[in-house]
């Protein structure tokens, strides 16, 4: 057992230890707290990239880490494969810029921001890495408990009201999660995901119905998290009232639900009599979510709400693509997941900066003004233009870039992702047969959603940058705009390196689809011999 095998647990331990240590540093020592938190997150990013590098080669094996050194079906295991490595890396790549952004202002708006942030990372990484259903529940709750605190960060009546709804919905979801898990345990007799995958095809018919009911209830809990219509009404309010860095890191949270649905649907329902269980729900629910998100994007007045509805569009697209169960479309969906998560993270941070140059009423008026005409239309504009200050120019460029990414226009990665999904489901991908009705619906809705996003963001952009009523220039620190630019640069890099990125995504989908390898890796994992035994053997040998 060499040191590199312990890397698997580091994404959980590192934020856990630093988050706990941060609780004991007084809030007035801001610089120290910020440094500890920043270095822990940078360390996490490095570990996550090492994990991806470890899994990137074609002959990489799934790494199984036994937490209590008990054999797999009895003890709890962590499993690292290509997909979980990718998701952990995505979390870390999003977390670093968001943390830097928060250091400018937000981290001092309330107590224990850094601890909560680190605990959120513990929960998210744990949910990605765990190979056990009940352990997944525990990490889910860690993530949610931290997110309750983060959502309330900065306080205020709006946040408390949204927080109340958010907590109530998620507590109810947690109870559904428990019902699902216990039904599955009661019928299959195990909670280890690999063991479950091996047992489910051979389960007796009279128990199968109960097991499927359990899986359905469990699925509802994840779909609430992922924000599938009609379980998503809490999401736009919660995301739009959260503090900017909090909303940005929440972009990864809805993807946790998506990840688990992808993981469990290929693992548990790959073959046997329960094959393709629930795919219809994913397809039609996903389509409804895209439609709802599109309408929401068009109807929203504030930029934050547009971002929140874009989260729904992204979730819906992903759910439908997972439900269609096409390998080529799925690798496109993974690329889309990475692209949309990072874009939304950057967008939520940008919104806060952009809104500093508006007076509070401007957002509310935007749509009304479009409908009824601008009161200022009669005023003759002065002939000479106003020189645009450099802050506004940079903000405007970032805004334009994220609008292009969100609506999926060429040349950036949003377009590449949508193109990959659409070309796969339209029949030029792996299937080679005429597209099904739901695939056509998805294609139409995805294109419409892109158009709606473009319209909404153009309207908001014109209002903000070109016809700003006050002409105020917002005060933006370098520390705040650089994280946004870094995330956008990552997207540009992802566009240029789309070839290697897609190669990794395709390998990931192959790896995830090969549930036998997962089961085998967990089943064959050996416990580590105790150091006493090793020592005795060495002494006996010498």
């Amino acid at each position: 057992m060499n040191w590199s095998s312990h890397l698997v647990i580091t994404p959980i331990l590192l934020p856990l230890i630093s988050g706990a240590a941060l609780m004991f540093i007084a809030d007035r020592q801001r610089v120290l707290k910020a440094m500890v938190s920043l270095f822990a997150t940078l360390g996490l990013a490095m570990v996550a990239l090492l994990l991806v590098a470890d899994q990137a080669s074609d002959d990489a094996v799934n790494r199984v880490y036994m937490l209590g050194n008990w054999l797999a079906p009895f003890g709890i295991v962590l499993v690292l494969d290509k997909l979980s490595a990718l998701m952990v890396a995505l979390t870390a790549v999003l977390a670093v810029p968001v943390l830097v952004f928060s250091l400018a202002r937000w981290h001092s708006a309330g107590s224990h921001f850094h601890s909560l942030f680190q605990f959120l990372l513990v929960g998210v990484n744990g949910a990605f890495l765990t190979g056990d259903l009940f352990n997944l529940f525990v990490f889910f709750e860690v993530m949610l408990a931290a997110s309750y605190g983060l959502l309330l960060h900065g306080s205020g009546a709006l946040r408390v009201k949204a927080g109340l709804h958010y907590i109530a919905v998620n507590l109810a979801a947690a109870l559904l999660f428990l019902i699902g898990v216990s039904l599955i345990y009661g019928t299959a007799g195990t909670l280890n995901m690999a063991d479950l995958a091996a047992r489910i095809p051979t389960i007796e018919p009279d128990r199968r119905m109960l097991m499927e009911a359990g899986a359905g209830v469990l699925g509802v809990a994840f779909l609430i998290k992922a924000g599938m219509w009609p379980l998503c009404f809490w999401l736009p309010t919660a995301y739009s009232v959260a503090a900017a860095p909090v909303a940005a890191i929440f972009a990864i949270m809805s993807k946790v639900g998506i990840y688990i649905i992808l993981r469990l649907s290929v693992l548990m329902f790959a073959e046997g009599p329960s094959a393709e269980f629930g795919t219809d729900v994913l397809v039609y629910g996903g389509l409804a979510t895209v439609a709802f998100g599109t309408i929401g994007v068009l109807a929203s007045q504030a930029l934050g709400r547009i971002g929140a509805y874009c989260v729904l569009v992204s979730s819906g697209t992903l759910l439908t693509t997972i439900g269609l169960q096409d390998a080529a479309a799925s690798s496109g969906a993974l690329y889309y997941l990475v692209s949309s998560t990072l874009t939304l993270g950057a967008f939520f941070m940008l919104v806060e900066l952009v809104e500093r140059c508006q007076d509070a009423g401007a957002n509310v008026l935007a749509v009304t003004m479009d409908a009824y005409g601008d009161a200022d239309d009669d005023i003759v504009e002065e002939a000479e233009g106003v020189t645009m200050p450099s802050t506004l120019a940079i903000l405007g460029m970032c805004f334009a870039a994220s609008a292009i990414l969100l609506s999926g226009l060429p040349p950036l990665s949003g377009f590449v992702a949508k193109f990959a999904i659409l070309s796969a489901i339209m029949g030029t991908g792996s299937i080679g047969v005429p597209p099904t009705g739901s695939a056509l619906w998805l294609a139409a809705l995805v294109i419409l959603a892109g158009l709606a996003t473009l319209i909404a963001l153009t309207r908001a952009g014109i209002r903000t940058f070109w016809s700003s009523i006050e002409g105020k220039v917002p005060r933006v620190l370098v520390m705040e705009i650089v994280p946004v630019m870094i995330l956008l640069a990552v997207m540009a890099g992802l566009t240029i390196k789309a070839g290697p990125a897609f190669a990794y995504m395709e390998a990931t989908i192959r790896d995830v689809g090969n549930s036998k390898a997962y089961i085998e890796a967990v089943g064959k994992a050996l416990t580590v011999p105790s150091w006493r035994d090793t020592k005795a053997k060495e002494q006996g040998g010498s």
């Binding site: 009940f134 529940f137 525990v138 709750e141 949610l144 408990a145 309750y148 309330l152 306080s155 205020g156 009546a157 408390v160 009201k161 927080g163 109340l164 709804h165 907590i167 109530a168 507590l171 109810a172 947690a174 109870l175 428990l178 019902i179 898990v181 216990s182 039904l183 345990y185 009661g186 909670l191």
Partner: protein, 112 residues
């Protein structure tokens, strides 16, 4: 025994669901508590209801009469997590009451 347990779970779930759909925050939190009791009993029940049987394997204990210890461990974890999150919800409820001056879930002034 099974009948009593399932009736208890059913009644508590029904009351809990009704209460979390009510407009006052206090009713919601009581509803969530009732639901979590029902769920805890439910988890306890899926291991098979047995009385007076040990969850430990030892001398003279046959595997057939053993109580499954896993659901008990699950219940313990679920209780701890449920307790903590309910306490947190209570704090948010009080904050909401303080900020809006009403205990309506939407902060409206005339809770009905």
């Amino acid at each position: 025994m099974e009948l009593v347990l399932s009736i208890a779970i059913g009644v508590m779930t029904a009351c809990g669901v009704w209460l979390i759909l009510r407009p006052r925050t206090y009713q919601v939190i009581i509803g969530l508590s009732l639901l979590s009791y029902a769920v805890n009993l439910f988890i306890f029940g899926v291991g098979g209801v047995k009385s007076d049987e040990p969850p430990l394997l030892g001398e003279g204990v046959s595997v057939a009469s053993l109580t499954d210890p896993v659901p008990q461990a699950l219940v313990l974890t679920a209780i701890v997590i449920g307790f903590a999150t309910t306490a947190l919800f209570l704090v948010v409820l009080l904050a909401s009451r303080g900020l809006t001056g009403s205990d309506h879930v939407d902060g409206r002034s005339d809770p009905r």
